[in-house]
């Protein structure tokens, strides 16, 4: 985020991205004494580079030596001031829609400058499989995203890339789907590459985890296709990886989250949803895996399908016996078998993708992360049915997030947690549970809000709590910049910077005045050239 890092090429030359992270965090620490205003923090620090550069660089290098090769974020973060939360803003999901052009480029350019002046650290950019590799396998079109990366670099912001191997829907309407050639493969019902529910309904916004290692895509396995995609990304963006690209999120499933699309048949939003979702284990390949597992444990009948007595999408989970409190079949030996199998498949799928990502990006020093769902809606009953259908074997008696956290730790990845703007006790409790599991396994946590119309006060509280490293505010668009929202966002940014404001009292008055004059002319200059 700092101009002193990103904008000054000498200072950053040769530093790998992990160092950039360190570097920034150190500067973040130092800058406490320089900041004069909560709203144009980044800029003011940038202007100090002339004076502070030497000192900052040397300290950064020193830290880097101590911690070199440590790519796990929590360790890095431990050097930071506790109140420092890195803030990023998501770019529009449709920023690139047909591969080689940037949508609303002028708006994004203006927005980036505004964010920079506000003191935002970086932006998050979703990169869609269905956009880049739309036409045919191996035919990548990166130019639109490259242009965006260049815009972000020019604006002096960091860039966090999310690789989306899923489709995007807004209000039930598809905005971006999987690549056309993949969809064509899926049209053949017998290929069975999509998650499928009990009634046979397919979820077409991502591939079933059961085909990860089956050669269903023109003779290649999805894992190979994801691998090629990531390699192509890495070589195309080699000039950007490290700076401005400092982080990469790996898409892990529906909406990018490590989960089953258990809510695919639900009509309404989380707020007034009736049911807890359904198990998604009915595609041919999943059933085959289930069958094998059942035979292995000596109960072949258990492999014929998912629980027959689980409730449907629009039925309360207590309307049938699987999830019931007293003697529900989730507590039976069969229930335990099925739920272990179902959740293990998900963890193994996550492991495959994250180890792929860390093998490709690990040596380039960018932090790799993955998203985990917040399925809190039915935690008022013992079986926690919405977590179970999503693929987390987590009930009142069992913590299903331990294995997930272990898997992330093994791959040196951080966890992205959505729903930080939800003001709801059960959501908060579940967040706490997942965070605790991550802490235990020394896995860093990034936060995200679920909607730009969410509760910004809640986000404020979350950031103030200080137990997340970065916050991704979703997302830029008309509403984001609207008079109804933007002032509140400005105030929020101010509040996260607040604790450091007091420190600038140690600056001498005249020095500060001088600084701010430079600042003004500089910023005007920047506006004109940009």
């Amino acid at each position: 985020m700092e101009v002193s890092v990103v904008g000054n090429s000498q200072a950053k030359a040769g530093l790998a991205a992990s160092r950039a992270v360190l570097f920034r965090s150190r500067i973040g620490g130092f800058s406490t004494s320089f900041c004069k205003s909560r709203v144009f923090m980044g800029q003011s620090r940038g202007l100090r580079k002339g004076k502070g550069e030497c000192r900052l660089s040397s300290s950064a290098v020193r830290v880097e030596e101590v911690l070199s090769r440590s790519s796990s974020a929590p360790d890095v973060r431990s050097f930071q001031q506790p109140d420092k939360v890195r803030l990023c803003v998501g770019l529009p999901v449709d920023a690139v829609m047909d591969g080689n052009c940037v949508n609303h480029a002028r708006a994004i350019a203006a927005g980036l400058k505004a964010l920079k002046l506000l003191g935002i650290d970086g932006v998050e950019l979703p990169v869609w499989w269905g956009v880049v590799e739309k036409e045919g396998r191996g035919e990548y079109e990166w130019s639109g995203y490259l242009a965006l990366a260049e815009m972000v670099r020019e604006a002096g912001l960091e860039l966090h890339v999310t690789l989306c191997f899923h489709g995007c829907r807004q209000q039930q309407q598809p905005v971006i789907s999987l690549p056309d050639w993949v969809m064509r493969v899926g049209e053949d019902e017998s290929s069975s590459i999509f998650f499928t529910d009990r009634s046979g309904q397919q979820y077409k916004d991502c591939l079933s985890l059961a085909v990860d290692e089956l050669p269903v895509l023109d003779g290649r396995t999805p894992m190979e296709v994801y691998h090629d995609f990531c390699e192509s990304f890495k070589s195309s963006f080699s000039a950007y990886i490290g700076s401005p690209i400092t982080g990469i999120s790996m898409g892990l499933g529906p909406d990018g989250e490590l989960r089953y699309p258990s809510l695919q048949g639900c009509e309404s939003s989380q707020v007034d949803r009736v049911g807890a979702g359904e198990f998604q284990c009915y595609d041919r390949n999943m059933l085959k895996l289930l069958n094998e597992a059942a035979e292995a444990c000596g109960n072949p009948f258990w492999g014929l399908g998912g629980p027959h007595d689980a409730s449907g999408y629009d039925k309360s989970p207590i309307s049938n016996s699987f999830f019931r409190d007293n003697g529900g079949s989730w507590e039976s030996p069969y229930g335990e078998f099925f739920l272990s199998w179902y959740s293990n498949q998900l963890i193994r799928h996550g492991d495959r993708l994250l180890s792929l990502a860390s093998s490709i990006f690990g040596d380039s020093g960018v932090a790799v992360s993955g998203k985990v769902p917040l399925a809190y809606s039915w935690n008022i009953i013992n079986s926690h049915p919405s977590e179970l259908t999503a693929g987390y074997y987590s009930t009142v008696k069992r913590d299903g997030y331990e294995e997930m956290a272990k898997m992330f730790a093994k791959n040196s990845c951080t966890v992205m947690l959505p729903g930080m703007d939800i003001r709801n006790d059960n959501a908060r409790l579940l967040l706490g549970q997942i965070k605790a599991a991550c802490r235990k396994h020394r896995v860093g946590v990034l936060g995200e809000n679920s909607s730009v119309e969410g509760d910004i006060e809640q986000v404020k509280d979350v950031c103030a709590a200080g137990d997340i490293d970065s916050f991704f505010y979703q997302r830029m668009g008309a509403h984001f910049f609207s008079p109804e929202h933007f002032p509140a966002f400005t105030a929020f940014v101010g509040s996260t910077r607040q604790p450091r404001l007091h420190a600038d009292d140690i600056l001498k008055e005249d020095e500060r005045a001088e600084e701010s004059l430079t600042l003004t002319s500089d910023s005007v200059l920047q506006m004109q050239t940009a």
Partner: protein, 902 residues
């Protein structure tokens, strides 16, 4: 044979609805109440797509198109170096266009008849229609046979047709006219044609007195008061009386133009006796109008003053309400003299100047001279009839060049050149937007500066950066917004959110109601005084609203047969005692609801036929105030808009004078007695739209209506699914536009069945939500288990005996606004009720709280409310899940238990 007239009479001005003539009987078609109604009023029939018909965005006023002399566009800014500011603000406002809907029914030849529906107001009109067949039961529509459908008709589901109205060659009163013709065979089996008119531009539906228009083709069609052409000689009354009223109507209905002579056939015994008619119904539509105002600012020739000139193409007298300000805080001030001609001061805050009409063309202009010391010129425009125009919700603001803000001014114009590619209407909104952000961020900045620095230069620097941010954000906003959206940003807002404002439908959302009387309360003659002694106790129990008995002079001692509405001495006490009581409740912070009986009123005198239908007291109405469809009372008003209460004359709320009097009376009760709101008796009897009218006029703090009808039964057993029942209540609330809540009779009924039969599964509907009104529209549901009719000494529908506390455990922990009956408060249940109320208040449960049903089985029902309170009722076992929340038992009673999360 009648000839087809294409030149109907214009409506004489004396027949506008407001000019109620006192001597003549008002004809029904005169007072046809035509309302813009939301489609859900008759959602049964209206296609769902119309619910959110897009508000048509009228094209931006094309500059210079209306008159040649207006407006220098800001795409060519500052051609004249003296011009410091030049901008054209678009003005969107609306005007009322009056016109009419006409319905004509003519015989063409033999069995062929033509129904013509037309409209003289510009719009994209669609006739949404269907038919009823002779042997139809109920009021559902059917689709007409295909040969009846005019070209261009589109079927809507299986019950209606939509046919666009077209512009025929004829003109009507010199205005545009749209119409559609439907051919009918008089020998077909169609009993009636039903329709509503829809304006596709605004999405508004036009109905007839709150219902569909109905054109009967046979005389056995049930008349619900919405029949068009009702005076066609077919005996709605029988015998001499019927003929008499027909004659009356015929002679006095001057605007009526009977075109057909076929009414002769009505004398015959034939069932089918069709007759032509022609009727007109007044229609007022709001149409958007685009105008603009151009403001240019220049320096006076001697450079000592700033000249602001305003030009507008608004027609008629335009008054500029204006002032100046010294800084961006935009505090209005009055500038020093000289002021333009025709200027008056307004309350020392602003000036009002009448703009001078332009020499040629429409519009007006004015020139204002302002001292250099001011930073801005602020104004709003006022048109005649007290309509105000502003700049998208804000005052118009024109920055003035002055020595102090010169630089800023330059920065501004530089900025606007920067995005000159945008169309200028965006520019305007950008300015408004920027101003808002400036305000917002300025607060931030001033915080910082006052705390951290007194250095003026730093402050300036901050300001300039803030302005950069604002400008950039505004730019991004306008581009994002105008970009053809590949998807919309806004998620549909959930209807039920956190309660914020007080509204008459909900109060604060945290209300708990006490019914402060029972069927015997009148007996002592001093109820008001007795209740006064209990006010503090009721307040301490946690009640926020009390419902007092009907206060007026009444034929029956309980007050529900009101007579003289302005006489408030009743069996409950005198008017003075009532005032003292209300004052007492206000002292202990309890709001007071008056029980108002609006459906019916007892007459004091007989008419010439010996029928009691002449009223006394201050509101000395005659039989025109009585609905026409109750033969006992021989009313001369319109048909009732609801069900009839047969023991007293039902009031015809479609009469303007009746509504005016009722509104005055309600306002008088508010002012004179101090009532805060209303409990509305028997609202089934008249259209909810009238209730909205009354509530809008009397502005109650809280209002609740009694819409009580029977639940659905099959073979004598209460159905599990009571959706139809609660839908009727919801329809009524909808008709009041949500300004009133309604007693949740459905919930009471389902509780009866569940508790009596030990069938607690009934307490969850098919969707897992509460089965009553509270499951669908919780904020408007007033839940109760007993009242003076159902219980007390009447016992018309008594709650299962001994199980009252289960009922209260349910309603006092659930969303909705709970009401507790007086008899239960002062009984052995008091301590339990008190605990439940304090638990509700402690956990801030409100009318929109969320409820999640976690168990609904034979012998037990359990739910978790707001994730803070768990409740079970019924003998079966339930314990809330231990896990994230720790639950502790708060209240335990006979077959119920309540926990709260800790």
């Amino acid at each position: 044979m009648p000839t087809l007239s294409t030149d109907p009479l214009p409506l004489p001005p004396t027949l506008r609805p407001s000019s109620a003539s006192s001597s003549s009987a008002l004809h029904s078609s005169l007072s046809f109440l035509l309302r813009r109604s939301s489609p859900w009023l008759s959602r049964r029939r209206c296609p769902a797509v119309a619910c959110s018909a897009p508000r048509s965005v009228a094209p931006r006023a094309s500059r210079g198109s209306s008159s040649s002399s207006v407006i220098v566009g800001d795409l060519e800014p500052a051609a004249d170096p003296g011009v410091a500011f030049d901008k054209t603000f678009p003005i969107q406002h609306s005007a009322k266009v009056e016109g009419k809907i006409f319905v004509r029914f003519d015989q063409q030849n033999g069995e062929n008849w033509v129904l013509t529906v037309g409209c003289t107001v510009p719009g994209t009109w669609i006739l949404h229609w269907g038919v009823s067949y002779v042997d139809d039961v109920g009021s559902e529509w059917d689709q007409p046979p295909t040969e009846m459908r005019p070209p261009g008709s589109i079927p809507i589901k299986d019950y209606a047709i939509e046919t666009p109205l077209e512009k025929p060659s004829t003109m009507m009163d010199g205005a545009d006219c749209y119409e559609v013709n439907i051919c009918v065979q008089s020998n077909s089996s169609i009993a009636a044609i039903n329709f509503v008119l829809k304006d596709e531009e605004t999405g508004a539906w036009y109905q007839h007195r709150g219902r569909d228009f109905k054109v009967p083709l046979v005389n056995c069609v049930p008349d619900d008061g919405n029949v068009v052409g009702a005076n066609r000689g077919i005996g709605l009354w029988t015998g001499a009386l019927g003929q008499l009223s027909n004659i009356l109507l015929k002679t006095e209905a001057t605007q009526e133009k009977p075109e057909s002579s076929s009414c002769l056939s009505s004398e015959s015994e034939e069932v089918r006796c069709i007759e032509g008619f022609y009727e007109e119904i007044l229609l007022v539509k709001e149409v958007p109008i685009q105008n603009s105002v151009n403001v240019s600012v220049r320096n006076s020739p001697d450079d000592t003053k700033t000249l602001v000139s305003l030009e507008t193409d608004l027609p008629g007298d335009v008054i500029v309400h204006w002032g100046v300000c010294r800084d961006d805080s935009k505090t209005w001030e009055i500038p020093s003299a000289p002021q333009p001609a025709e200027t008056i001061a307004f309350k020392n805050k602003a000036l009002r100047t009448l703009l001078q009409p332009k020499q040629q063309g429409n519009g007006a202009s004015g020139l204002f001279t302002v001292d250099k010391e001011y930073a801005g010129f602020l104004f709003v425009l006022k048109l005649k009839g007290d309509s105000w125009l502003n700049c998208m919700g804000n005052d118009f603001y024109v920055p003035l060049p002055s020595s102090a803000t010169d630089n800023q001014g330059e920065a501004r114009s530089e900025g606007s050149q920067g995005h000159g590619m945008m169309e200028d209407h965006k520019e305007v909104s950008t300015t408004v937007y920027t101003d808002e952000i400036i305000k917002e961020i300025r607060n931030l900045a001033s915080d910082i500066s006052s705390e951290k620095s007194r250095n003026a230069k730093t402050k300036e620097a901050q300001e300039s950066i803030l302005q950069e941010i604002e400008k950039l954000a505004a730019e991004a906003y306008s581009i994002f917004r105008s970009a053809a959206p590949t998807f919309t940003d806004e998620a549909p807002a959930p209807e039920e959110s956190i309660p914020s404002n007080i509204s008459s439908g909900t109060g604060t959302g945290y209300e708990i109601l006490c019914q402060g009387f029972n069927w015997e309360s009148h007996k002592s003659g001093r109820w008001y005084m007795e209740l006064e002694g209990r006010a503090s106790e009721l307040s301490a129990l946690g009640f926020t609203i009390i419902w007092l008995p009907p206060p007026t002079d009444s034929v029956s001692p309980e007050g529900y047969m009101p007579r003289d509405l302005y006489n408030l001495n009743s069996r409950y006490g005198t008017v003075d005692q009532l005032k003292v009581l209300v004052k007492k409740f206000h002292e202990v912070n309890i709001k007071v609801l008056g029980d108002v009986v609006l459906n019916h009123r007892c007459a004091q005198y007989k008419n010439s036929n010996g029928v009691w239908n002449i009223f006394g007291g201050k509101l000395n109405w005659d039989d025109r105030a009585v609905v026409a469809d109750d033969p006992h009372f021989q009313g001369r008003g319109n048909k009732s808009s609801g069900d009839n209460f047969h023991a007293a004359p039902n009031i015809d709320h479609s009469q303007d004078f009746v509504r005016k009097d009722i509104k005055e009376w309600l306002c008088w009760l508010r002012d004179e007695i101090g009532y805060d709101g209303w409990r509305l008796d028997f609202v089934r009897g008249f259209w909810g739209g009238y209730v909205k009218d009354y509530l809008d006029a009397s502005e109650p703090y809280f209002a609740v209506g009694e819409y009580w009808d029977s639940l659905s039964y099959t073979y004598g057993e209460v159905d599990h699914n009571q959706d139809a029942h609660r839908q009727r209540i919801i329809d009524w609330i909808n008709a009041t536009n949500g300004t009133a809540g309604a007693f949740d009779v459905t919930t009471k009924g389902v509780l009866h069945a569940a508790l009596e039969r030990c069938e607690y599964w009934r307490l969850s509907d098919q969707k897992g939500k509460p089965p009553g009104v509270v499951g669908w529209w919780p904020s408007r549901a007033v839940t109760f288990i007993e009242n003076h009719d159902t219980g007390s000494t009447q016992g018309h529908w008594r709650f299962p005996s001994g199980k009252e506390m289960q009922g209260y455990a349910y309603i006092l922990t659930h969303p909705g606004t709970p009401a507790v009956f007086y008899d239960h408060i002062f009984s052995h249940y008091q301590s339990e009720i008190s605990s439940l109320i304090s638990l509700r208040n402690r956990n801030r449960i409100h009318c929109r709280s969320t409820v999640k049903i976690v168990k609904a089985e034979r012998d037990v029902y359990a739910a978790i409310v707001d994730e803070k309170v768990a409740v079970k009722i019924g003998p079966g076992h339930f314990e809330p899940a231990v896990g994230h929340q720790r639950w502790s038992v708060a209240i335990e009673g006979n077959d119920y238990k309540v926990w709260q999360a800790s």
